[in-house]
Symmetry: D3
Subunit: 165 residues, 6 copies
């Protein structure tokens, strides 16, 4: 029985020596604290932006619902992304920034675990689903909203150490 993970001939570690996809072996990695921060924006009409802004203060809380959707999605990451390892998240925080002059809303997610692999995908998945939820709730008035600049901002922990965009 061969139980060591095959070395990959390319730097794309999700493939083995034969170019076949696998869930890479992380069994020998240490369980350390790992943090990832991801961000992204949704751009909309100024009228749509005004409605979301009004709702976050009183009735029709689009932002509050998008926050819950983002947190819940982070927990489903390994179901959505085929080669992701299941990871027991120890913290998820979702922040929304209303950028009035751009009529845009920025979603920033911090995800943490104490585990054998990083949580970049968890943070990014949460950002995407947070923005999609805003789209869903506003699409009746603004179908042309665009999601832009979804990316990793920072990563901490693991062998690769600290990374910043």
């Amino acid at each position: 029985m061969t139980t060591t993970s095959s070395a990959s001939p390319t730097p794309l570690t999700h493939f083995d020596a034969d170019g076949q996809a696998h869930m890479v072996d992380v069994g020998a990695k240490a369980e350390t604290r790992r943090v990832a921060v991801a961000t992204g924006c949704i751009h909309m009409q100024p009228e749509t932006f005004a409605m979301v802004k009004a709702g976050s203060a009183k009735k029709g809380d689009v932002i509050g619902i998008a926050r819950i959707a983002a947190i819940q999605a982070s927990k489903r990451t390994s179901e959505l992304i085929p080669l992701c390892h299941p990871i027991p998240l120890t913290r998820v925080a979702v922040d929304f920034e209303l950028i009035e002059h751009d009529a845009a809303i920025r979603c920033t997610v911090t995800a943490e675990t104490v585990g054998r692999t990083g949580v970049e995908m968890e943070a990014l998945t949460a950002v995407n689903v947070g923005l999609l939820t805003i789209y869903d709730m506003c699409k009746a008035v603004d179908r042309g909203m665009r999601m832009e600049g979804i990316q990793l901002m920072e990563k901490l922990g693991g062998k690769s150490g600290h990374w910043k965009a």
Copy 2:
């Protein structure tokens, strides 16, 4: 028993007259054919792009895996987006375009149903998860990839008729 859906004071139909979120009543809508097309790009380093391009032709098929992830995600949309109705999709097609001069990959999804409500969210969710899967598979060599221009392109069917970006 009040069974009619409350009228919303704002155009944000996901909220009732009191500003509370609900899954809106679509029971009286006709079951018609509905189509949605959504798109989005992921931008990367030219070296990363070259690896993905090489793999789609032979070993290490990043694009093939992202396509499967996108199709599967479209079926989970109502689990991810809180106020989405569950919808029996009748077709999902996922297309990837390799844009060499931009070192970018465009994902375009067409979703269809014969149902009471549209499939914009299904198409958009598939685009997002398709791009996230590319990110996941290439992140070991390129953490700075960005997802851009995720938006609805076209919508067909239902009371609102044909819409194009």
Copy 3:
């Protein structure tokens, strides 16, 4: 090939003639509008009640989060309840009533479909998860909260017609 559903010797229709569980045959039933209303309460310390009440007006919106959890749970009913049919819900509305003199919160859910079987379980599952979410968010200050009086209130549509508690 026998394709008719076996008659049950007991009025418990989830069992066949041999007493074995099955998902009963609803294929011959008409697709009609079906509505169910369910309700239930969570009782707590007056101090806990005051915190929830304060939050629903401004910061710390326990009720808003419980509403989203209830709606999402209604869509997962057939995954949780073994013999439930998957049902495409056409409407879900969740109402919370703050009952000050009892230091209790009542959750009432209305679920609707146009389908071959009723949505009682969807309404009841949403009530239970709505109340559980309140418990979760307040348990740090009040572990002794109790859920009481969870029941069906009304049912409309299908062969059995109108039923009221």
Copy 4:
């Protein structure tokens, strides 16, 4: 990058200093054995009770199916309750007591983990889904069944120590 969890101004720890929901940081907590016991009853007509009792002895095993549903639901808790951490359960036991003089069935669940946070929600979710499954299987003969007294009975492990109802 701020990676410490914000202090909450209220004792409701699921909210940060701004009143926004988050999945609280448990990364610094020790992995210890944690146990929770929850309970609840479903009340029914004496005729319904007699049917369930008969079935648990021979054909039509309502209780056996409810037990499996309860165990499976405990594993889905973090998907259902928005701010729950995913927890690797190490034990789940579900006990049903037939209370003849009340025509009621009591469901008691013990859940355990070796982890960073407690399993109260896992035990409570299992109780609720166990009772809902009994409701589902008997609703054809008794729509008026009520679930009562669902609560935590005992909690062991973690910083808060031993708690008993």
Copy 5:
């Protein structure tokens, strides 16, 4: 916008003209009653068989639990099989036959829908998970159990009409 499904150059309809996977267009198909019957066996040591047989009569009901697992799995088919359409099942029946002289247990599942595509995968998935559950419950005493002869037995409805193994 091209909305017709691409013709496939091969008889493998899950691929389009370019050889890319897609969820094929079933939107134009009629909603008709469709039935599928699938079967399969698990072979074990005579001692293991005797334990299962004893349990199905009284305590330790392996078969009863496998039946519930099979029914629940049939509802998850479109999550597990990438290109399957989500289908609203209208009936699922699971039968187990104890074959003493072979020390084997046969699982036979009948699945039905009124829909646009067949339910072969739902029936087969239920058989597989039913057998896997028996394996799980007996593996402590018999790791060498084998699953054999899992196949479709019969298919009814749709354009392809009646098919029998």
Copy 6:
């Protein structure tokens, strides 16, 4: 509060002393590296086999899609198999062997974890879903395919040590 797991009167450890199903207590077991290898075949017409073989080399990659489905299914094992513990997989590798003279495809899965219980069910579930996905993609041309010889091949780690078929 009794928190020790009940001793089972039978060797079927998934049942307690009363013959009731439970998720057995693994809290006291050590977290060690555990590996399981499972295998199984799908037999088909030579013409179907030729199509799959052609596709794995260029267009219509049945095997590539089945591999992804198998990996994803391994992560859902505890949702499908009622009494399985949730396990954080640290590695999953899926290998397909084309057996020309038998017109059969063999799927072999290696699953690993660092945990308190074995991963036999994860490896077996992945094999089954991998084979089911091949069936799904080829069923339009060959409904009579059969899955055979699905079994555990090897198991490493835990108290029971090394086991080989």
